[in-house]
């Protein structure tokens, strides 16, 4: 207890710094995966992608990030086990943040594809199991989270497969693809708007005092989606078929129509990413703040302070603006094979999966979900060439990341414990 009372302020400041560092890492690195597909398909310029990412990552974190944050904060560890020794939770969460942030930097330097989600979950499980006791980990919940890592790419792949198939049937494989693109793309835009607002209204607005029933949410979401669709239709009006370009490549004008759709999808992706991955940074921070502010109670019920979500969102934006744009540019320039019609299916499928995972409070990896979605489009014969050997690398990064995050967290945990006591 005394430790919390004595060093409370220092611990909170440390947590803020580490949390910001971690969020910065997410913004610098992870956002590129979310936005790279949009830039790569030439639907967005780099500037537009950054602007969209700033606004929607933030919105996603603020409006739909609560549930995942709660999971990271108090779902993985059983707080009852720590009620006598709250400082252990504080040390643990601090070391988890530090471990994940450092591991992210190391992996970036070596060019390994790692997931921030896997790192932070591994770190929390690691410090709890070793530093506190194997029983302190809520293994049931951890099992669910790990299962969701397998389920999410598969789900995204399925959605992407059927989305792309529908695009083929309704638009690409018809005699007048351009006319049909103009006809059907607004409906896809409606879908994007509906999905985002549905998750926001049903799950995300409790902390700003709005608790809506499912029916009301559906109604409002339909309204929001309709407005989004109208906005899309106005944008589509400007697009005319270009006979010259179409001679060279029959789908040139059609892809322009999909470019408009891709803008909306990119917003959805940024929103989804913000709703899920911000939690990796702010969850542990919220746990520390919770313990300190309740003077050593391992609180179960405290509400999430809004400033913490804002700090996380701010960290992501800072990372994105300072470093992330380079990564997005690199990624975007390297994906030449991704046309808007293909990119849209993959991105929307991943965004949908991630947003729903956020709604149910499951921390999943945006990158891996997107990989699943891309494979889904590939299975629908929608991509020219996919390098399957990368899947092996991704799988290896899963296996390596968990113990790495855990090991680093355990090391920092004992260092902190030694420093403060």
């Amino acid at each position: 207890m005394t430790i919390i009372a004595e060093y409370g302020d220092i611990l909170v400041i440390m947590a803020c710094i580490f949390g910001f560092f971690m969020a910065w890492g997410v913004g610098a690195n992870d956002v590129a995966n979310a936005m790279g597909t949009s830039v790569g398909s030439k639907a967005l310029t780099l500037k537009q992608a950054i602007m969209i990412a700033i606004v929607f990552e933030f919105a996603g974190a603020y409006l739909a990030g609560g549930a995942v944050t709660a999971t990271i904060r108090k779902g993985i560890i059983d707080p009852a086990m720590l009620s006598g020794t709250p400082e252990l939770l504080v040390y643990g969460m601090l070391s988890a943040l530090l471990a994940a942030g450092i591991w992210l930097l190391v992996a970036t330097a070596f060019g390994w594809p790692v997931s921030t989600t896997h790192t932070i979950v591994g770190a929390i499980v690691g410090f709890a199991a070793v530093g506190v006791g194997v029983d302190a980990v809520n293994w049931g919940k951890v099992g669910k989270i790990v299962a969701s890592w397998v389920v999410s790419p598969v789900t995204a792949g399925l959605i992407a497969f059927f989305l792309f198939r529908s695009v083929q049937r309704l638009i690409l494989d018809t005699e007048e693809p351009f006319k049909n693109a103009k006809k059907y793309v607004p409906y896809y835009i409606f879908l994007v708007g509906f999905m985002i607002s549905m998750v926001t209204f049903t799950k995300g607005l409790k902390h700003i005092g709005l608790d809506l029933s499912f029916g009301t949410s559906a109604l409002i979401s339909t309204g929001v989606a309709a407005v989004t669709m109208l906005l899309g239709i106005t944008m589509l009006k400007k697009i005319k078929a270009n006979k010259e370009d179409d001679k060279e490549y029959h789908f040139a004008s059609v892809e322009k129509v999909f470019g408009v759709l891709m803008m909306f999808t990119a917003c959805a992706m940024a929103f989804a990413h913000g709703s899920n991955d911000v939690a990796n940074a702010v969850g542990p921070l919220a746990a520390v703040v919770g313990v300190v502010s309740s003077a050593g109670e391992v609180a179960q019920k405290t509400a999430m302070p809004v400033w913490i979500l804002l700090l996380g969102g701010g960290g992501i934006v800072a990372g994105l603006v300072m470093y992330g744009h380079k990564v997005i540019a690199t990624v975007g320039n390297n994906i030449t094979e991704l046309t808007p019609s293909r990119g849209f299916a993959a991105t929307l499928a991943a965004a949908t999966t991630v947003v729903f995972a956020s709604g149910t409070g499951l921390p999943i990896s945006t990158t891996h979900t997107l990989v699943g979605a891309v494979l889904g489009v590939g299975l629908a014969r929608g991509l020219s060439a996919l390098n399957l050997r990368v899947i092996g690398t991704i799988f290896a990064s899963w296996v390596v990341t968990l113990p790495a995050g855990a090991g680093l967290a355990i090391m920092f945990f004992f260092m902190l414990k030694g420093m403060f006591s």
Partner: protein, 226 residues
Amino acid sequence: MVTNNSIFQLFASSPFKPMQEHIAKAHACAIELIPFFDAVMANDWKEAERLQQNIARLENEADTLKKDVRQQLPRGLFLPVPRTDLLDLLRMQDKIANRAKDIAGLMLGRQMSIPEAIQPIMKDYLAVSLKTSAQALKALNGLDELVTSGFSGHEVDVVEQMIHEIDDLEHNADEMERQARSALFTVEKELHPIDAMFMYQIINLVGDLADKAQQVGSRLQLLLAK
């Protein structure tokens, strides 16, 4: 700069565009036979030699492109069509350029002058044969659209139609080959026996050019077959 980006490594570069570049090169090589024949008929061997070297150079460039495409198709690549079918198609495309080089090389090496009597028919025959390869090039240009539409639907019909036209043109070339043979037959007694034999061989090779173009079409059809 390194990025820790698995997504970005997932996208391999598409082999389809290079395939199109390759057949464009192969056809560009074959089409040089027209001025080459003109030079031979005018007995301008200096010009003929220059054109033959040009054909050899283009054939070489087509070979380089072929190797590049092959390097882009390692195992473990996930393509919308079987990798072997794609490599087969590539081999056929390359044969168009090879045939053109054979014809020019043989004619220049033996300084073969084409008998006056069969010159017009030979010209027409070559033109029809090259039309076949031009049509194959046109069909291949639909490849990127096919990839976009996932090798299904309306685009398939468009390309199928082009493949039918390749077949028709090849039949025309066959007919012309028959006429060229009989024209040569009527004058063969006046020629040196060995010259006559090689003239028949040239007629064969020109027909072969159309044949190879047709086979490019049929290989492309295999890609479309579900």
